[in-house]
Assembly symmetry: C2
């Protein structure tokens, strides 16, 4: 028997170079692969051995199986022909940062468990306040601060827990939720709000899903009325979640009016700008986040549109005290001088899990590699391409743009009705030549076309529009 089964440094070096080359090649050839994986349910599992290996296998064999068995089951989020959902884009500097993070393998749960992990995170999140023109209260030297979460879902859960803490002066955390707390959002808000309200024990029925206006934005008057009705019924309004750029249609809730209501009613305002938040690197798009100074908490994800690979979700609070009070527990085995001194941030108190990766590194790499200028260039370009696509759609009498696109997401449909649009989507995605997704707006089936993948260029958007037109034509001829 060998005395060690570990990969030697030489093997790691050799295979590591091969993986780097594989990734470089992959990003070159990915646009020629079917974007949406065509495999059938169970197909991959059926091809894998039922039992784990008794003895280790050569790395070359593992990599060959990866290429042969797994790659066909990949839906290629990094294809420049990926227009579905929201992007989860990435970039060279981000990947290199992620590699280093994995190599260091440090835990940042406490400042003391790796000071650089905490301090770089604080610093980079302060940088983003500058880069995006966010409110000063979000800076670490103010009353608030930022932290990297895995997702906007976890951010909204943290927001609810902090809101609950503030609203009940801690009673909900100590004695339990009493079923009288109410949260508010629009029917267009992300499903993670409802999920988080359920997890936090408020009860999903105590989330008010408010109707929206004709641009799918929350109506402040409806919010004010509902809060008043709930108070009259003896309930306790706790949190409002407003969205800058909804998932369905990129609708922007009116933050100034909503914020004024929340301030008056002393209700926590959480703002979710998971994708659209990145647009604020360009001053010309900052009007979309006007009123953000009313927010008690704010989430946007560099892992969507800021060239930073998943996971990297930024979560800011204007006043960190409620969040920390709700989430801090200090067992003996984590006590240390730095924590006792009060001079440091321990990010475990800003999130659900205890453990945490050094995620700030990739974000630091991205910001330094691109600079403000580079980020602005590419975000502007994506918006231009989406707006150009919307103009093409609008110019074709067979199609309609369903709602004016504020940024990089275009919601459109063929005029031939829901069934036709469903069939059109199915046909396009099955072609493998592009991938888009859908939603329902005003009860109608609508196609979503989002431009945000790192390497999406004009040609990819033009190709996509041609594919859409010709698929629609073929479908119309087939009597679809």
């Amino acid at each position: 028997m060998p005395t060690s089964y570990h990969m030697t440094p030489e093997e790691f070096r050799r295979h590591g170079h091969a993986i780097v080359d594989w990734i470089a090649d992959y990003h070159r050839r990915v646009e020629s692969l079917p974007v949406l994986s065509p495999v059938a349910p169970g197909q991959l599992q059926a091809a894998l051995p039922a039992s784990p290996p008794r003895q280790g296998e050569p790395f070359e064999a593992i990599l060959a199986d990866f290429e042969r068995l797994l790659l066909p089951g990949i839906t290629h989020w990094q294809s420049p022909r990926f227009f579905a959902f929201f992007p989860a884009n990435t970039s060279g500097p981000s990947l290199l940062g992620e590699f280093l993070t994995a190599g260091l393998g440090v835990q940042g749960m406490l400042w003391a468990t790796s000071p650089a992990c905490t301090e770089l995170e604080t610093h980079v999140l302060d940088w983003l306040v500058d880069l995006l023109g966010l409110p000063d209260a979000f800076r670490s030297h103010s009353t608030g601060g930022g932290v990297i979460q895995d997702s906007a879902s976890s951010s909204v859960l943290c927001a609810i827990v902090a809101a609950r803490e503030r609203t009940t002066q801690g009673a909900a955390s100590r004695r339990g939720v009493e079923g009288r707390l109410v949260a508010y959002t629009s029917t267009q808000a992300h499903s993670s709000v409802e999920k988080a309200v359920g997890i936090a024990g408020l009860g999903r029925h105590n989330l008010r899903l408010l109707d929206t206006d004709n641009r799918y934005a929350l109506q402040p008057e409806a919010l004010a009325r509902q809060i008043a009705a709930d108070r009259a019924a003896g309930l306790q309004p706790c949190m409002v979640c407003a969205t800058v750029g909804t998932t369905s249609s990129n609708a922007v809730d009116p933050l100034p009016e909503i914020g004024a209501i929340c301030r008056q009613e002393n209700v926590w305002l959480h703002v979710d700008a998971a994708m659209a938040g990145t647009a604020a690197v360009c001053p010309e798009f900052r009007h979309l986040q006007a009123g953000l100074e009313f927010a008690d908490s704010y989430a946007f994800n560099p892992h969507k549109w800021m060239f930073t690979n998943f996971d990297c979700g930024c979560f800011y609070v204007a006043d960190r005290s409620a969040l920390i009070r709700a989430l801090s527990i200090l067992p003996e085995y984590l006590r240390n001088q730095a924590t006792q001194s009060g001079a440091v941030i321990d990010y475990r108190d800003w999130q659900i899990p205890l453990g945490r990766r050094f995620r700030a590194l990739k974000l630091w790499f991205v910001i330094r590699h691109y600079g403000a200028e580079g980020l602005q260039h590419h975000i502007r370009r994506h918006v231009e391409l989406a707006q150009g696509f919307a103009r093409d759609v609008a110019a074709d009498p067979r199609f309609e743009v369903v709602v004016p696109p504020p940024l990089n997401l275009v919601c459109f449909r063929h005029r031939a009705g829901d069934a036709f649009n469903e069939a059109l989507l199915e046909r396009l995605n099955r072609s493998g030549r592009l991938f888009l997704s859908h939603t329902k707006l005003g009860g109608r089936f609508v196609l979503r076309f989002c431009v945000g993948q790192t390497h999406t260029e004009e040609s990819h958007v033009a190709d996509a529009w041609r594919e859409i037109q010709s698929a629609a034509e073929a479908l119309a001829h087939a009597g679809g």
Copy 2:
């Protein structure tokens, strides 16, 4: 102005190779670096520019700053001289899997968003049922199944939410927690249990922290008494969290007795074996998890002791229905044929966030690289080294082993009292030559020595023991 600010494939290749080499070199030299970072609070932030760069910078400059500014602020979890907390170990195959995961950049929230991501995860978690001798109910083809979470903290939160769902037939998720649900664990359980109970809205005061026996294990009789008292008071017992290998001292709660009580009382049993669970790759350690067939849910983290880098926490349920009912919400923009067909798993319904990385890839690489044989070899070796260390400590009349170590964690102290042990810990960690942590057991300050870093060999443990002895001697002479 350039037309693109992206890193070219050639640059990515070149810098990628350099990063791989940097990591290979780092893992070689890490044992010569101070394990615990010696920087002072704020030191790193003071060295960084206050504002983000307007223009992008060369990658070489970024990497040079990383080495010069950040590395001194790193506490080296991958040092073979890291004996603190629980390990967060890693390995060559795991890192290579993590690189590929980042390069692919796929989202596995739904089966359809990247089928391979879901199917490989299901498959590898089924493999682990074989590898670790886990109950059959945890297999995906049975009533249950496994999923990869970011941490044991998130796993226990999911367990509580599922337990709440089952106990209240969904009322808690719909209408809110009513402050009558009670959870149970021992005083020695991980702080994440208390944190999760707070987040889930049960109220921390409704978590009963039960006293333990002289080996720091939960006492089934005390549990039964408390459940009876709570029922008599009109409260609703909801969940018990038992631990296999507590963080303080690796204590093992008696699962068969606890399980029988839970079954009788119809209370959800969650078992947390975050680190110790990996030991079950060796049949001779499986007695520690006897009674696991009573568990409704189970968590162990390959990212602690199974050579798989953070994050990779495995979470199993014996019956997936309550978990999915509690966490599933399907908005229009995520609807798809595969989900509607019911033939696939959508892992977003098994976790808090929506988005998810392809974490199964690194775990698959690790299992295939080492095979069962390789994993067993290294786990056995770590346990042997820890047991040898315990024998050395026991043989030195100045020291005592505080509790018999079941596996790879040794709790010990110098006989000179708490203040001496605190000073000893401080002196050892400040030396940079090893890093260990502490806890309190029976009110006394105790040193924790955990052997689990991938490259920890006999020589590192022997060096550590010599360091401990000579530091104690120096301290005794100094009148410490």
